[in-house]
């Protein structure tokens, strides 16, 4: 590539110093012209089988993105950056408890190109692995090992066990075991109601986002509807990667029409014509189910006037954060943006963007058909609706259970058959960021408010159970390493803070740690919470705080 090709256009395109009118700064620039090129960048790497020597030059020629920039983006995403790995072994907490380290060692002894990875969303089939299909192109097959307790006894197999789900019950909001409705009755009703009434119904349902933050969906919908004239876009966050979480996987695999219908209702309510589903590339079965449902819905005319795109992730937990997801969709490094502006005003390509989680969209059809008041009546206390609770770890029937939002952990545990291998020691109520709570807190309601009051969070509601043979310090270290490995690296509080936390916890695991070490943990945690740009760094110290608060003996005063 000769010099001058593929260069940024920041010179001489009228956007420079003189061209800004009264604007002092470049805070909220309209997207630059080069964004159009970036959109093809990650798919182009996929087509070349990942980031191999020379691939960046080819991609640069195809897209006009400078070679180094293309390289920088591709190297961010593990599934692209490490194309020669045959098998990835999940080292999430549930998988580690089920013998992931053994499996990793076994695979290495037979000479497989094997890499540990952070979470594959198969916690109920732990220890989970993923095979990269020959030929690359971003095709992956989930595998799992035969095991007896925590010992891995057999070789990898591709026949995945059927998931444990709540029994078919028409009174459930999502009802994973139910039949998908290919007639899209709710979408028809929504069309009759009109946009204002649909948004009002979502608001009346007090539906809170099911992805982790619990933001009221009605607020987002109303905000984007106010921006209807600016070509809004609907994005479904299907990048489920929070360790312990595999509920969206089952929604897409079992009820793909429910998700599509919910998205279509949202699109028509806020005046959008483009739908994007950002799906983990690791999820093979959900992808097949979604593609099939899109074809059926298209044939039935349900998607008339709507463009649907299934975009694949490339192996980066941080892209579950909504602005990092948008960056990745735009073909950039998945580093979270500063807010404001919020995506509802300026998101994907600067357009108003309505982004909800898979489960959130899947709640929509039932709310439209049966009303917000009905939905409100389903929750416990102030909570509204039902919730999908994925549960794994030391539990008899790991699976996804749909229960009223706000059930206690003890109730969920009973539904899943109780603790196995010992008595209850601790549980993680909602993904890696929620930390670990001691067994005596089992009556806490699995709901946004009560868990926050307990110093934790509902998060993605991915519950992991630890029996009393487990080591909470080791589990905390596992999670600290997870955050270290999945930090985007943009800001120092998170990038360096996660590393220092791991160092301190390792010292503690080795010799119990000193008083000074505990003080250092506290200081680093404070700075991560105060100084990090996004929720990953802000929440990463929670498991450490829980460890100190609930599980460690008071340090010797010496």
């Amino acid at each position: 590539m000769g010099k001058g090709r593929g260069k940024d256009n920041s010179r001489g395109n009228g956007e420079g110093k003189g061209g800004r009118g009264g604007g002092h700064h470049r805070l909220h620039d309209e997207p630059r012209r080069r964004d159009a090129d970036h959109l093809r960048l990650l798919p182009a790497f996929d087509a070349l089988g990942g980031l191999r020597p020379g691939a960046s030059a080819v991609v640069s020629l195809e897209t006009g993105v400078p070679q180094a920039t293309a390289y920088g983006v591709a190297s961010f995403f593990h599934l692209i950056a490490r194309p020669d790995v045959d098998v990835r072994v999940c080292t999430g907490l549930s998988c580690q408890m089920a013998g992931a380290d053994d499996l990793l060692a076994r695979l290495r002894t037979v000479g497989a190109a094997v890499d540990p990875c952070t979470c594959l969303g198969q916690c109920d089939r732990a220890p989970a692995t993923l095979r990269t299909d020959t030929g690359g192109g971003g095709h992956f097959t989930p595998l799992h090992a035969q095991r007896d307790g925590t010992a891995v006894t057999g070789w990898l197999q591709t026949e995945l066990a059927a998931p444990n789900l709540s029994a078919d019950d028409a009174e459930l909001v999502i009802n994973l075991a139910g039949e998908d409705d290919p007639t899209w009755a709710a979408a028809q009703r929504a069309a009759a109601l009109g946009g204002d009434a649909v948004v009002a119904e979502i608001s009346a349902a007090k539906l809170r986002g099911r992805g982790g933050a619990g933001f009221p969906a009605g607020f987002k919908w109303a905000a984007v509807r106010r921006n209807a004239a600016r070509d809004p876009v609907i994005i479904c966050n299907a990048d489920e990667g929070e360790p312990g979480t595999f509920k969206d996987r089952e929604v897409m695999a079992q009820r793909p029409h429910l998700l599509l219908e919910g998205m279509a209702i949202a699109a028509r309510a806020v005046g959008a014509s483009e739908l994007i589903i950002y799906l983990r590339a690791e999820f093979a079965a959900p992808r097949e189910a979604l593609l099939g449902a899109i074809v059926q819905a298209r044939a039935a005319g349900h998607l008339d006037g709507l463009r649907v795109e299934l975009a694949l992730g490339h192996g980066a937990y941080i892209c579950g954060e909504e602005t990092a997801l948008i960056e990745a969709l735009e073909g950039k490094r998945g580093m979270p943006r500063h807010k404001p502006p919020f995506p509802t005003d300026s998101g994907y390509l600067g357009r108003p963007t309505l982004m909800n989680n898979v489960e959130t969209f899947a709640c929509v059809p039932a709310i439209i058909l049966r009303g917000g008041a009905w939905f409100c009546g389903l929750g416990r206390g102030d909570a509204t609706g039902t919730k999908l609770y994925p549960i794994s770890g030391d539990v008899a029937r790991p699976g996804v259970y749909e229960l009223p939002l706000g059930v206690s952990f003890a109730e969920l545990l009973a539904v899943a058959g109780g603790v196995t291998g010992g008595a209850l020691l601790a549980f993680s109520p909602g993904g890696a960021s929620s930390g670990l709570l001691p067994g005596h807190m089992a009556d806490v309601a699995l709901d946004f408010g009560p868990l926050q009051a307990a110093g934790s969070m509902l998060g993605s509601a991915g519950v992991v159970v630890l029996n009393d043979t487990r080591d909470v310090l080791k589990a905390t270290l596992t999670r600290a390493r997870f955050f270290r490995d999945e930090s985007c690296g943009q800001c120092a509080p998170c990038r360096v803070g996660t590393q220092v936390l791991v160092r301190l916890l390792e010292r503690m695991a080795h010799d119990g740690g000193s008083v000074a070490d505990r003080e250092a943990l506290e200081r680093v945690s404070w700075e991560m919470e105060e100084g990090s740009i996004c929720g990953l760094g802000q929440a990463a110290p929670i498991p450490v705080r829980h460890l100190m608060q609930h599980f460690l003996q008071a340090p010797p005063t010496s």
């Binding site: 990038r495 200081r523 404070w526």
Partner: protein
Amino acid sequence: MADRKLGDPIARDPDHRNDDHRDDLTAQSVSIVIDGHQLHASPGETLLEAARRVGVVIPTLCHDDRLKPTGACRMCLVESSDNRRMVPACRHPVADGLEVVTDSARVQRHRRSLLSLYAADAPDGILPGTELDAHVLRYGLEPTLPQAEAPRAGRPDDDNRYILFQPDRCILCARCTRYCDEVEAVAAITLAQRGSQTTIATVDNVSLLDSTCELCGGCIDTCPTGALVERKAADRQEDFGDLEPVRTTCNYCGVGCQFDLQVDRAENKVVRVTSPAPGLTTNDGNLCVKGRFAYGFIGHPERLTEPLIRDKSGQLVATDWDTALQRAADLLTGVRDRHGKDSLGFISSSRCTNEENYLVQKLARAAFGTNNCHQCAAT
């Protein structure tokens, strides 16, 4: 620009030329309070820009006025009444009624804590004389933390003779990559990998010589930690602060860039060349590969420092200027007399000044009567 007086800073944005004129913009301006200073600011202005006008110092690391603010280094976090979290002053917009506090106990603790993390990520320590070091001296540190692993990859095989990247000194503020992209429009370097492995890389980690890099060295100038340094001067990095800057004009081409020769007086030697800060000179903080790196001739043993003429055996011998000029005049006049005036031609160097070039053409036309004159940069 017509009313600019010699020595005035060059305005980079018409709206920034004169701070006083902001007060004329009352119709569009907002009123904010920064550390007790009440001031008017223009919509779109950042807290950092507003604070500067009232003399409130907010420390920054990833900020460079020439670049789009990213807010990534977290050094400039301040308390602002529109957010319960601290906000990055470099990119947080002013808003009417905002109250900003830049020196609360919370902000001070944050600065010490953040700097402690940077220190924990610097296996070789923080280099004296850098922006990062200045912040540590001014704001202090919290108690020492265990060292992070900092597994950032460098480019050990990059054998270019000009720019050295030292990953252990890097804080990933990305000023270098953004300068390369946004100012130079070269994009030879990029943030690569992620998390603790994040580093500054070229495509496929090739040498800068095999990348689109034009070796302008602007990345060195903007680096706040000394992670980027002139390879020739790398072993002197600890004493850059002791060097004496000598401002001069580059004579490699006609642009007229100003730069500072950084001189070791004791050795009477130029150690490195730096650009004056942006906004002060024609080159606005930039230099090219010649200006920054092609100074080796100054003390080179083969440099001609006196006139030489050939003796009868063809050997060059030193002489005085009068003798040398007389010899040249005699021989040129001889050629003209034997072969005619258009048998001569005069070529001057682009490294000569305008005045010198003028004199060369005058010599050709007036003294020798030929129009055969040219200057190597004229085409």
